[in-house]
């Protein structure tokens, strides 16, 4: 199914997902403009990671529809589940970065980044290597090409993971708490790379606890709780002046526990 002269890159309509009896997403609607950066925030268990994973269908929704670019999938009554080949082709156009990096430990940094282009895009090894080296240079790790992930710091691992996703030349990048597993002093280097990507016009959806970063880099912010969108709007506006009590409560908690100051997060 395809259409569209629509300006939005990602369009999600009435999305529903349950795990057993636990309804994690209840009728979610979301639009991300081309080149837009959307931050998803909310307490744990709010469904924000599940929502993110529904965008590239790592989690298959129970109902509603997901469109990225020109590809649209509908779920629920009577809708046939996409087969593995269709899913794979669709996911190749979206990049994802995980909380725990999920680098391939049996491959060097360079091989990690080459893996997608070689295996999925059937690119010639030499071309893939050139592309991979360029992506590694972009995240500032050109000199780590020959090393195995185990020898890298957390921040370096996550930057390699970003390079690996970028090597597929995706239209959209999804970040699933990309800095949550990092030591505080390593968070900045990853946020820097993400900010650079945003400034280059990459369409991004970011699940994050870095409120200061979201305020700085995201143009829209979505606050979720218990599987519903409680509040959304321009990032600065929602963070500086939340309308809903739940949003205020959540954000105040962050201020009190001392989120990273903006200067530190975005040097």
């Amino acid at each position: 199914m395809s259409e569209t002269n629509n300006t939005s890159k990602i369009e999600i309509r009435s999305l529903r997902k349950s795990f057993g009896n636990n309804e994690v997403l209840k009728n979610i609607n979301l639009d991300v403009a081309k080149g837009g950066v959307v931050a998803l925030i909310g307490p744990s268990g709010s469904g924000k990671s599940t929502l993110l994973r529904c965008i590239n269908l790592l989690v298959v929704p129970d109902g509603g529809s997901v469109r990225v670019g020109d590809t649209r999938f509908a779920f629920g009554d009577g809708a046939k589940l996409p087969d593995v080949k269709t899913l794979a082709r669709f996911r190749a156009t979206t990049g994802m970065v995980f909380q725990h990096f999920n680098l391939f430990p049996h491959m060097t940094t360079l091989q990690n980044v080459m893996e997608g282009p070689v295996t999925v895009r059937r690119m010639a090894k030499a071309d893939a290597e050139k592309l991979a080296r360029a992506q590694l240079a972009k995240v500032g790790l050109a000199e780590k090409a020959g090393q195995y992930p185990a020898t890298l710091s957390g921040g370096q691992k996550q930057r390699v993971a970003i390079a690996r996703a970028l090597a597929m030349e995706p239209d959209v990048m999804l970040f699933d708490e990309a800095t949550s597993a990092l030591d505080p002093e390593l968070v900045g280097e990853v946020l820097n790379v993400m900010q650079q990507l945003a400034s280059e016009g990459m369409t991004m959806v970011i699940v994050t606890h870095e409120i200061a970063f979201a305020r700085e880099v995201a143009d829209r912010l979505i606050f979720m709780r218990d599987g519903v969108v409680v509040e959304e709007g321009p990032a600065r506006q929602v963070i500086d002046n939340p309308q809903e009590a739940a949003t205020r409560a959540f954000l105040s908690h962050f201020h009190r526990t001392g989120a990273l100051p903006a200067a530190n997060a975005t040097p």
Partner: protein, 220 residues
């Protein structure tokens, strides 16, 4: 006091060597076939299809939970009656031992695959890999490393299990030494020599396995 006399075994040396050759050759066959059955059993038990999963489970439990000696006898005496196929003792025992080994290999291979963090196959999927590609490129290369020590360990057990085929008159090392023992009236010397022969082959093997484990641990 018993007077040991190992010298007498020298005249049976060709018999022993012959038996040893059968034992080693037999082990190679049942390890290779066993690994094939193991691979089938493992992928069957991880299949998306319920029928395949149940079939694999039935195979694994049937062979894992019955004694190999009983299986050997059953394959040689009972199966021909049930299935109407005659088998030589060698075929029957190779089949029984391969299936028996395969049931254990299945569990080792399955365990190795499921021990790989789910994030690995998710990362593969997020890159656009099909489940087959992520199994081949991402999961199996890591899983095999973890399986190797257990696979080697069970292969060593399989090497020793070949001694049981002597009950079906397959002329392996144990069978031949029974012949020698009856002939020479020197069973103590004979079986001592047999034990030494098994150990002489297996101890170097276990040392190689242990070295290999260490090297794999470093690269992970």
């Amino acid at each position: 006091m018993y007077q040991w006399d190992f010298g007498i075994l020298w005249s049976y040396r060709w018999l022993f060597l012959n038996g040893l050759g059968v034992t080693v050759g037999f082990t190679v066959v049942i390890v290779v076939c066993g690994l094939l059955f193991g691979l089938l059993g493992a992928f069957g038990s991880l299949s998306r299809f319920r029928g395949l999963r149940l079939a694999a489970l039935a195979f694994i439990e049937a062979f894992r939970c019955t004694p190999i000696l009983v299986q050997l006898i059953w394959f040689y005496y009972a199966l021909p009656i049930l299935a109407g196929v005659e088998m030589t003792p060698i075929t029957a025992s190779a089949l029984a031992l391969s299936l028996y080994g395969g049931s254990f290999y299945s569990e080792i291979i399955r365990g190795g695959i499921v021990s790989i963090d789910k994030g690995q196959s998710e990362a593969g999927a997020a890159l656009g890999m099909t489940p087959g590609q992520s199994m081949r490129r991402i999961v199996l290369p890591q899983a095999i490393k973890r399986m190797i020590p257990a696979l080697m360990n069970h292969s060593i057990i399989q090497f020793k299990n070949t001694s049981l085929v002597s009950v079906l008159a397959v002329p392996d090392l144990v069978y031949q030494s029974q012949v020698a023992a009856h002939d020479s009236y020197r069973p103590l010397e004979t079986y001592t020599a047999v034990a030494v022969a098994y150990a002489a082959i297996l101890i170097p093997l276990t040392i190689i396995v242990r070295r290999g484990e260490k090297r794999l641990a470093v690269s992970e």
